[in-house]
């Protein structure tokens, strides 16, 4: 009964209410979309494991570590597995075809990363072929690669053309795994470098360490760094999560801007809804005066207004949330190359619900006060 009154009241001005609902819908949609973009930024952090450590040169990422560190790291307390590799930084045909590509010690790497899932014999085929490469499912789809194709990467850090044969395509165990990477054998890279630029051979960009338990991570990291203190290449060891976070924090400003903007969009829609409610109440002040004459209290009238405002915003919010999913899918296809994973988080949905309710409440405050305060005689005198 009450809901019916609220609904009737809300849709007395069909056009105005429809427009307001549309506005809320757009705002909630934008809000969810922006939150999802931020989540996508943190996807690498979410997907990282707490039982893996990354060791790199303490000066910065562009400096390498000698290959001889591998044996020393392997002997350190708590380390259960060691792999290593280089950021290759190559591109396919044109520089704008950018994607993550690494040269890795493949066998130990795949042991440390069980979340990459292979079909049938592909993994074995990759490990057998010295010029073999592995690509993620999304990456392979982007360029239309099939197993057996020859892919020639152009090196930016390691000059020249690098012909590789795609031997396997991996899938992620779950949705958070990045399926847009390519990697090939570090041995192949090193062999070529040894011939062309011997001074740069036997150098490793980073080591990946496996530990048994997350609680061992800090101690193991300290042990490894202590091994190489005061050497020519000091190391910095941190958990994979911290390592990924350091990349995210580089674009802090952009993330902050997006976060701010996602709040601004809610404020904009707040102004629109507040306007609608203010107008509705101003037009109906004499009605409220009649209600008061009949004996309704100011509080009851205020509740009616609050309810009406909530009907509008929750309707818009619900439609916006429903639309979020198809829109995110379209968006993901458009910007897939920037963001490896693009999923709507449950938290986003909750926040969107909270936002739409909050807008409904705040928008109703000012009109409610007006309706409570109006004197019967004054209200009745008013026209329109």
């Amino acid at each position: 009964m009450l809901l019916k009154i609220l609904y009737r009241n809300a849709f007395r001005h069909k056009l105005r209410t429809a427009l307001t609902v549309f506005g809320v819908l757009v705002a909630i949609l934008a809000f969810s979309l922006l939150r999802t973009v931020i989540d996508a930024w943190y996807a690498g952090v979410e997907a990282s494991s707490s039982t893996r450590l990354i060791t790199r040169n303490s000066i910065s990422l562009i400096f390498s570590l000698p290959l001889s560190y591998r044996e020393k790291i392997r002997q350190a307390d708590g380390v259960t597995g060691v792999s290593y590799g280089n950021w290759f930084g190559g591109y396919y045909i044109e520089p704008k075809n950018f994607f993550a590509n690494f040269a890795l010690e493949s066998k130990s790497y795949l042991d440390l990363y069980p979340e990459y899932v292979f079909q049938g014999q592909e993994k074995a085929a990759f490990l057998r072929d010295r010029k073999g490469a592995v690509a993620g499912r999304k990456l392979a789809e982007r360029f239309g690669w099939k197993v057996g194709d020859t892919i020639t990467l152009k090196g930016t850090i390691f000059p020249g053309d690098w012909p590789l044969v795609l031997r396997a395509i991996y899938r992620g165990k779950d949705k958070t795994v990045d399926e847009t990477q390519l990697f090939f054998h570090w041995d192949y890279l090193n062999e070529v470098i040894r011939k062309t630029r011997p001074a740069r051979a036997d150098q490793v960009g980073f080591y990946i360490l496996g530990v048994n338990h997350a609680r061992d991570a800090a101690r193991t990291a300290a042990t490894v760094d202590a091994l190489f203190r005061n050497s020519l290449a000091e190391t910095l060891t941190e958990t994979e999560k911290a390592f990924q976070l350091s990349f995210v924090s580089m674009s802090e400003v952009i993330i902050t801007v997006i976060q701010l903007v996602s709040i601004v969009v809610i404020v904009i829609i707040l102004a629109v809804v507040a306007n609608t409610m203010a107008m509705s109440v101003r037009e109906r002040l004499w009605e409220y005066a009649v209600f008061k004459t009949l004996g309704f209290s100011g509080g009851q009238i205020a509740l009616l207004i609050l309810g009406e405002s909530l009907v509008i915003t929750t309707l818009g919010g619900a439609l916006g949330i429903l639309l979020t999913f198809p829109v995110v899918n379209v968006f993901a296809q458009a910007v897939g190359q920037f963001f490896p994973t693009f999923n709507v988080d449950r938290m986003t949905i909750y926040l969107a619900c909270v936002a739409s309710v909050l807008v409904g409440v705040i928008a109703a405050i000012f009109p409610m006060r007006q309706a409570i305060r109006v004197h019967i005689a004054e209200g009745l005198r008013r026209v329109g």
Partner: protein, 388 residues
């Protein structure tokens, strides 16, 4: 016409709460629109100003940026002997062989670590970059472990003030000077002697060779000469072109982000304007009838309401621009993923952006006002008079 304008303006004043709320919505949209354009503009200005047109940058072929590039000593010497290189007053070629590497430093405000460019400079590096001048201290002496830092770097990072020392590459380096390079990328760099840095980092190759052209039109010739020389694997770019390329991805990203955001936001604001205008029309039905009865034409009514909406949007747009112009005082820094290093730049408001933002707000006002104005103009005189 003046009467119409006055009528519209007074109408907005009478219903000031609604006017204010609607204008606020539009102001926010214009604010976001202009802010993001300013950010992209500021970024591009910073990077484009970094280069000068007559300088030529030589880096290793297909290395995209100085950080990834490597030019052997022998190759650098070949570049030095090109006849197109300008000579200084002392008869030496105006050419600098430089080393560019990254180190991580801690930021003052957030405590997070960021990659910072260290540039090893040759005696002519400063002559090639007239925008660089010292603000405190002195130049580092060649052959010593002394460095100077850019001003925006000194502001934002720990431990890089004058007379402080930094420890990296197993050596301690004393900061002897602070330089200012205006709104350019150099302001976010550390400079030291190239030979000392090459030794310390154990990187016996230069990253780039920079020289001034003897004659500005000689660029194509020297480019062709260098790139077809079988002893070299390099590419030559004008310095301006090189820095424009460096900012391309980030600027494009900002523009796309800005554009998609404002399109979505403006939908919200247009809806707000439409609601306001429809209700303005509905409230004044009798008034419109009276005006028509007095002899005002339909087109006059249409114009009056459209004008009201346009004034409203201009009000919002003006307020938004006013707020956004304050942003010019703010400087931001982020990582440019093409060079992988920290870069400070500020919001920059150009006349172009002001015009765009105002035009944008007028478009929003027009889109929101045109339908309600049509409704007002199409009203029947008798019926509307009866409604009052």
């Amino acid at each position: 016409m003046q009467l119409l304008f006055y009528y519209s303006f007074r109408n907005l004043l009478t219903r000031w709460v609604t006017t204010l709320l609607t204008a606020l919505g539009m102001a926010l949209v214009v604010f976001v629109f202009a802010a993001i354009l300013m950010l992209a503009e500021g970024l591009q200005q910073t990077l484009v100003d970094t280069g000068s047109f007559d300088n030529v940058m030589v880096i290793r072929r297909s290395s995209e940026s100085e950080v990834q590039s490597g030019v052997e000593r022998l190759e650098a010497a070949i570049v030095e002997t090109q006849p197109e290189v300008a000579l200084g007053q002392d008869g030496h070629p105006l050419l600098a062989k430089e080393l560019v590497v990254l180190i991580t430093l801690q930021k003052k405000d957030s405590g997070s670590r960021a990659n910072v460019v260290i540039r090893g400079i040759s005696p002519y590096s400063l002559a090639l970059r007239p925008q660089v001048r010292m603000v405190a201290g002195r130049l580092p002496r060649p052959g010593s472990a002394e460095i100077m830092v850019g001003q925006s770097l000194a502001k934002r990072f720990h431990n890089v003030g004058l007379a402080k020392s930094l420890f990296f590459a197993t050596r301690s380096w004393t900061v002897v000077g602070i330089f200012d390079a205006g709104d350019t990328g150099f302001s976010s760099e550390i400079w030291g002697d190239v030979d000392q840095l090459m030794q310390a980092f154990r990187r016996p190759v230069y990253s780039s060779v920079l020289f001034k052209l003897r004659d500005s039109t000689g660029f194509q010739a020297v480019k062709k000469g260098l790139e077809s020389d079988p002893r070299l694997t390099v590419e030559a770019l004008r310095e301006t072109e090189y820095y424009r390329k460096q900012s391309e991805v980030l600027a494009t990203f900002l523009r796309i982000l800005g554009l998609s955001l404002t399109v979505i936001f403006s939908l919200g604001a247009v809806v707000g304007a439409m609601i306001t205008m429809y209700s303005a029309v509905a409230n004044r039905t009798a008034e419109i009838g009276t005006l028509r009865a007095l002899g005002f034409k339909r087109s006059n009514i249409l114009l009056a309401f459209l004008l009201e909406s346009l004034i409203l949007s201009l009000l919002g747009g003006g307020a938004g621009l006013l707020c956004v112009s304050l942003l010019q005082l703010v400087s931001v820094s982020t990582t440019n993923f093409q060079t992988f290093s920290e870069l400070a730049f500020s919001f920059s408001l150009s006349a172009d952006i002001v015009v765009k933002a105002l035009a944008f707000s007028l478009i929003m006002g027009f889109a929101g006002g045109i339908l309600p104005a049509f409704r007002a103009a199409r009203m029947n005189i008798v019926e509307s008079l009866r409604e009052g």
